[in-house]
Subunit: 202 residues, 2 copies
């Protein structure tokens, strides 16, 4: 069993993650974090020097969780099926969240790009890691004739990340799954993802 201090630190991170995700980093005060975590100010400052350090620790934790989710959902009977499975898993996750919060990394990108270089660099790394994973599977799907071969896998992976981030933004804005679900349908068609590997995901 981890020591009590570690449990408290984890409790702060998990609660802070939820608050940042819904209302953004800038709009969150230390008092918001105290209310969400239920710990005392003394305890919070014992574990973290300030809000920036909590923000960075949250992003590092969520990076690991997100990349583990990507790796776990990229699985199937073929590379094309793995990509299809990832699309379905991402839609399910956002649907389960009722399109609240969106993507923590996309949110942070738009908050931090011009004002907080350390945050921006960390988030850029998450997108690069995600894109690299997709690129590998897209390249293998292209080799197997499951995705159109006329565009480089890296270019399609970068495009897929952009399209998904934009669609998550629209779904979150309107609180409707349509923009994200249709984005995935459109991506499947535009990539010529082999129909036999596509699950019914509506």
């Amino acid at each position: 069993m981890p020591p009590k201090g570690e449990l408290t630190r984890q409790k702060i991170l998990d609660a802070a993650s939820q608050v940042f995700w819904r209302q953004g980093f800038s709009a969150t005060s230390i008092n918001d974090l105290l209310a969400a975590t239920g710990v005392t100010k003394g305890s919070l400052y014992f574990h973290f020097p300030g809000k920036d350090e909590i923000g960075l620790a949250v992003l590092r934790q969520e990076r690991e969780r997100f990349l583990a989710f990507v790796d776990a959902s990229l699985s199937g009977s073929s590379p094309g099926a793995a990509l299809d499975s990832f699309f379905s898993a991402a839609l399910t996750q956002h649907r389960d969240n009722r399109f609240v919060g969106g993507c923590l990394f996309g949110n942070t990108a738009l908050e931090a790009s011009d004002t907080a270089p350390v945050f921006a660099e960390l988030v850029a790394g998450v997108f690069a890691d995600w894109q690299q994973r997709l690129q590998g599977w897209i390249a293998r799907a292209q080799e197997g004739g499951e995705i159109r071969p006329d565009l480089p896998a890296g270019q399609l992976a970068e495009f897929t990340v952009s399209a998904l981030e934009g669609a998550i933004m629209q779904a979150r804005l309107t609180k409707q799954e349509g923009p994200l679900a249709r984005c995935m349908t459109t991506l499947r068609t535009l990539l010529n993802l082999k129909p036999s590997v596509q699950r019914s995901f509506q």
Copy 2:
């Protein structure tokens, strides 16, 4: 010549627009706005009750400017050429801004979606208006054989908006035009935009 009060109001809106665009709405204080506009606190509060009202007035002003930009750049010798021209104009604009600021509406979407319904509704309206314009030109391009006809124009327009918003996010995050320029190249290919209407835009 407009009366002095109107000039001051406009001066506040233009300066506030720049500050919100770069650092976000939540991270901007009234003091930031006073520093950026150069007006006194009394003058600022004479024109606007508070930050929320300035934010809404900025969004309304920028909505008109953005839709005028969309309409002006959607022009060419054919519907496909008009769409191509819009892509080029959007890239040029973000390049001229050195990928600072990104898209004010996308930024606001991610800040306001779960916390500020009035802002979210206004931004959702901007995206709907933009999408509707693209849909009209895509439908005409499809009729003229300049864009693939196998997906509904509305679905392709929604997808294009999502892809561009995601790519603007990535370009702003990395301060490189690559993600946005490649997104447009990829879109042209995936939409089967007739090569003869495509400008060289690198």
